[in-house]
């Protein structure tokens, strides 16, 4: 374990960054498949966030624990162990999903189960092996929040436009765009969301820079 991998301040900050500035879906581009196709209703989005949380947090934690194993154990064995855990976590996730909506699993189809193989933990697990379990857990939580923010926002907008409903409750809007529920609109929606996020981060940076400069000026002036 490397010491700089485990400094508290650094880990806290990098975790919080995952929510917006380093959003796993919109900025880094992980786990795009469910975020693109599965997010045509808000319920689906919630279900995806749920299964993401159920899979990613424990698996990253496990990866960090596996990091304590001796060097001799080859990497692919650790990966297999993680895959096994991820697969098993699908069962409780599915039971919980029934609580949200009875037909959630069917409406998500294969995307529900394929979340067990999401690229977030696949690509992050080797790095989490160097971390303390607590920080791996923190990273998993932050990844989940980042993923949920993106997926919930996209799915809410898509449900509103495609069906004029939100969580199944009808709302009156001037026009219905049924095609927004299709895959192609998912691509465009996620792409646009990524652009909007990037644009707002840029603006936020501008504002922060302005504030800092002003503060400096004020100090110099005194």
């Amino acid at each position: 374990m490397l010491p700089e991998q485990n400094s508290a301040k650094r880990n806290l900050r990098s975790g919080l960054n995952l929510i917006f500035a380093q959003n796993p879906v919109l900025v880094t581009g992980f786990a795009l498949a469910p975020a693109v196709v599965g997010t045509f209703t808000l319920k689906n989005g919630t279900g995806l966030s749920l299964v993401f949380a159920m899979v990613t947090i424990p698996v990253l934690f496990l990866a960090s624990l596996l990091g304590m194993l001796p060097e001799k154990v080859p990497q692919f064995v650790r990966t297999m162990a993680c895959v096994g855990l991820a697969a098993l976590m699908l069962i409780p996730a599915r039971l919980l999903a029934r609580g949200i909506a009875p037909n959630l699993f069917d409406s998500l189809g294969m995307y529900f189960s394929s979340m067990a193989l999401n690229s977030v933990w696949l690509l992050r697990a080797p790095l989490c092996q160097e971390k303390k379990p607590i920080w791996a857990l923190w990273e998993g939580v932050c990844h989940t929040i980042g993923f949920s923010v993106c997926v919930l926002a996209v799915s809410a907008v898509r449900e509103l436009l495609a069906y004029n409903t939100l969580w199944g409750h009808p709302l009156s809007l001037p026009a219905k765009f049924p095609a927004i529920a299709y895959a192609f609109a998912g691509f465009i929606a996620v792409g646009t969301a990524a652009a909007v996020l990037r644009w707002s981060i840029d603006r936020a940076h501008d504002v922060a820079g302005l504030v800092q400069r002003k503060r400096k000026k004020w100090r110099v002036g005194r």
């Binding site: 900025v27 880094t28 581009g29 992980f30 786990a31 795009l32 498949a33 469910p34 693109v36 196709v37 045509f40 080859p74 990497q75 692919f76 064995v77 990966t79 297999m80 895959v83 096994g84 991820a86 697969a87 098993l88 699908l90 069962i91 599915r94 039971l95 189809g109 294969m110 995307y111 529900f112 189960s113 394929s114 067990a116 193989l117 690229s119 696949l122 690509l123 529920a181 299709y182 895959a183 192609f184 609109a185 998912g186 691509f187 465009i188 996620v190 792409g191 646009t192 990524a194 652009a195 909007v196 990037r198 644009w199 840029d202």
Partner: protein
């Protein structure tokens, strides 16, 4: 002869109509984000094709074995993934034994090629459609090749986008997503009115 034509049309269906990337967004991360390079994408696609072919066959076999046992419903996806894990373990063992250096430099590509939505999707879709053994293999093959087709189209798209004056917010991933989305829209003319499952 008839079966051959049927298999071929199934392969084409998987290749174009139900293209892994454009109609289901499978493996989009590997296509858009992971920096494989051109050769890496080709290697990835080939391994993926092998994985989808073998795993869809395995899924069909498994399904025949466990049959219509209702309470197995919750376990089925878990079993699919465990099959993948076993296949992965076997391949890694062999490679680790025979070609250690090549394996250590390409282990990331192999890992991602085994564990992704496309490999899982091939298994789930073949079982869902109730294909026979040959059909499921043809479908898995088509699904893997469809990734290569999408990678080829996206390569052209990237070149085209590289000389476009794209607004700053859209540069990179967002523009590529919209690009894939518009190709997907063009394939809507073939597929027609349906939701991806």
């Amino acid at each position: 002869m008839n079966t051959l034509v049927g298999l071929f049309s199934l392969l084409l269906t998987a290749l174009v109509l139900e293209n892994a990337v454009f109609s289901r967004a499978l493996d989009l991360t590997a296509l858009l984000v992971v920096p494989f390079g051109r050769k890496g994408v080709l290697l990835f696609g080939l391994i993926l094709t092998g994985v989808t072919t073998v795993s869809s066959l395995a899924a069909t076999l498994l399904n025949a074995a466990i049959g219509g046992w209702e309470s197995v419903l919750y376990v089925r996806p878990v079993l699919y993934i465990l099959i993948l894990a076993v296949l992965y373990g076997l391949v890694c063992l062999v490679l680790n034994w025979k070609k250690k250096e090549w394996f250590s430099s390409h282990s990331m590509i192999i890992t991602i090629a085994f564990f992704n939505c496309a490999a899982y999707g091939a298994m789930a879709l073949t079982v869902y459609s109730g294909f026979s053994y040959l059909e499921s293999m043809a479908y898995g093959l088509g699904l893997g090749l469809s990734f290569l087709l999408a990678a080829f189209l996206l390569e052209q798209g990237r070149r085209c986008l590289s000389i476009c004056n794209i607004p700053k917010a859209f540069r990179g991933l967002p523009a590529e997503l919209v690009y894939v989305g518009l190709i997907s829209l063009s394939l809507y003319g073939l597929v027609g009115h349906q939701l991806a499952a």
